[in-house]
């Protein structure tokens, strides 16, 4: 394994701090591991790093992804059909984290529980991973994960939603480390033509909860962003813009030409990275 340059270089907090120092939001990019295959996924994520993603989210392909729309599900299913395993996810994390870019895993809970919570946390930390985003695990059902994450110095990125009560926003903020993931729409993942009018108010009350808790915890916004203009809009009020389906779609649109897919991915990343700098 390649050792990361230093532990601070690969934390999510340091990436957000750097972005903030530049007076801009961070760009978080998602792809599922193993898509279009393990090495193809790694290559794609490395392009996203080179072209301006500040944090990489490595998706763990799962058979029953209830929070994902058809685009990400199609990619995850393709990865599974081609034999992607949990160990491949960790291998992908290792390759991406070796660039010094903070790398987190986004996963539904059952694969972690099946792998073994402690074993997964240890494996993720050993691979240089920074933490975990858990779309179907809320803090009140996460004591085992929280304990393992704390033992291994991993970030715990929980989600808030427009429907979250103030009490749940507060609970979620207090349990999170790295950043808080604000789901901007009530719905599943997928690029949308317009951004949500629910995101701004959700970010505002999440930031208020962060301030009341006396924390320094960035708030990222995900679900729906697909181009630089939308990224600029979201970056005007959020600490990070999280993009997934648009990246996946770009690769799905070039099934037979890897080089063209990577070039399109690079162009999209540039557009989004320019967007977060325009806000």
């Amino acid at each position: 394994m390649s050792a990361p340059t230093s532990s601070t270089d690969r934390t999510v907090a340091s990436a957000f701090a750097s972005a903030r120092a530049e007076g801009r939001a961070a760009l978080v990019g998602y792809l599922p591991a193993g898509f279009p295959d393990v090495q193809g996924g790694i290559d794609a994520m490395l392009v996203m790093v080179e072209a301006g993603c500040d944090v990489i989210e490595v998706g763990l392909p799962y058979s029953d992804p209830v929070m994902d729309g058809p685009t990400i599900q199609a990619a995850a299913q393709q990865a599974l059909e081609r034999g992607a395993r949990t160990d491949d996810v960790l291998r992908t994390v290792e390759a991406v984290a070796a660039t010094g870019t903070p790398t987190v895993v986004m996963t539904y809970w059952n694969p972690v529980e099946r792998y073994g919570v402690e074993r997964f946390a240890a494996g993720l930390a050993a691979a240089g991973g920074a933490g975990l985003i858990t779309p179907d695990l809320t803090p009140d059902f996460a004591p085992e994960w929280i304990a393992a994450a704390d033992r291994h110095g991993l970030d715990k990125i929980f989600l808030v939603a427009p429907s979250s009560t103030p009490a749940r926003v507060t609970m979620t903020v207090r349990a999170s480390r790295g950043f808080v993931y604000a789901t901007a729409v009530m719905g599943v993942t997928g690029a949308r033509t317009t951004t949500s009018d629910l995101a701004g108010p959700l970010v505002a009350r999440t930031k208020q909860a962060v301030a009341e808790a006396g924390l320094d915890l960035p708030v990222g916004v995900g679900l729906g962003v697909g181009n630089g203009d939308q990224a600029a809009e979201v970056a005007s009020y959020a600490d990070a813009v999280i993009v997934g389906s648009a990246f996946v779609r770009t690769l799905l649109d070039h099934p037979d030409d890897r080089a063209a897919g990577l070039e399109a991915l690079r162009a999209l990343t540039h557009d989004l990275a320019e967007g977060v700098r325009r806000a």
């Binding site: 799962y62 058979s63 029953d64 992804p65 209830v66 929070m67 729309g69 058809p70 599900q73 299913q77 599974l80 395993r85 949990t86 809970w109 059952n110 694969p111 972690v112 529980e113 099946r114 792998y115 779309p135 179907d136 695990l137 809320t138 009140d140 059902f141 004591p143 929980f158 989600l159 808030v160 939603a161 427009p162 429907s163 979250s164 009560t165 749940r168 979620t172 789901t183 729409v185 009530m186 719905g187 599943v188």
Partner: protein, 430 residues
Amino acid sequence: MSTTSSPVPPSSGRFDADAQGWFGGPEEGWGGRFMPEALIAALDELTEAWTGAMADPAFVGEFEHVLRDYAGLPSPLFHATRLSEQVGCRVLLKREDLNHTGAHKIRNVLGQALLTKRMGKQRVIAETGAGQHGVASATAAAYFGLDCTVYMGAVDTRRQALNVARMHLLGAEVIPVESGSATLKDAINEALRDWVASVDHTAYLFGTAAGPHPFPSMVRDFTRGIGDESRAQCLEQYGVLPDAIAACVGGGSNAIGLFTAFLDDDVAIYGFEPGGEGVDTPRHAATIHAADRGVLHGARTYVLQDADGQTLESHSISAGLDYPGVGPQHAHLAATGRATYLPVTDDEAMSAMALLSRTEGIIPAIETAHAVAGAIRVGERLAVEKGPEATVLISLSGRGDKDMGTAIEYFGLGETKVDLDDDITEEPVG
């Protein structure tokens, strides 16, 4: 008949869930709520509405009224005398197949739809495997004037075309789900996705006693009339409690509905799982018997999964049992040993379907035939141990009309001469 289908408020029995939905507490950890944050507020709202409704005599009274006058409950408890002769002891059938829409499912959906009205929502969504829950949901939606969308695996829409037609006639929209294995689990995923986007005006009528809290407990409360009625009817008609009770278990709603009334009695409890082509093959859905602990559709339970926690495709000749998970209270009852879960193969179930048809003039659903097959085994043993006065009570959860396509194919019923006797004759024991 003095029995009623009276539901009771959520009890604090030793096999019940705690406030977070854990069966056996967080240490044993069956159930819980592994769900996107976006749905937590809705699940909290539902929990509050359900507990409030069950404590409200007006709601309970309206539920009883609609069960009695609309759904035809309580269903009879019937002594299957010719089958009893074959088995060697008394076999009682709780005739849920006689309910409106032909299965126990109507109890659950009338409860949940009534709750939907109480919560002021106008649209319901549901998932369905065999289509019985979809038909029941479409029926309840029509009765209460609600909009209804039903998600159904594309594979199941083909093998249950009759039920698709019934749902359409009842005014429901049926959406075939092509993703994943295109069966029940994928229909649940798709319904959950709909719900995330529509939760402000839509209720999810969950079809079985699985899923995140409060569904396992709420569905049990709405279906527990099966057991409450059975227990009272058995005492009234025969003066004794049964020695054993039996039900088929896919997700497990009819089973938990039967079991609940008997948990504190000295009654043996059996759940029969779909053994498909055999539990030593990959083609089965015997979740408790063969699966491992995991999280599926919002609950920790037994899940058919591979080494990486990816859900495996299950198989059963019965679309209604073809589910790679099981309700978490069943996991708890299995883990504590209070109930026994055993597999029944496709072939055993089909033989029992034919046997019940020939001996009693009752064509059971293939789901139900699993319970019949398993109960015959139990009854034969009881006959040896206790003699002909022993009693086994079966939840006859649904009728087999919807399964005639499968039966025609399996038995070759389209041929001029059909000889089932070699397959179905059970030698009496004891």
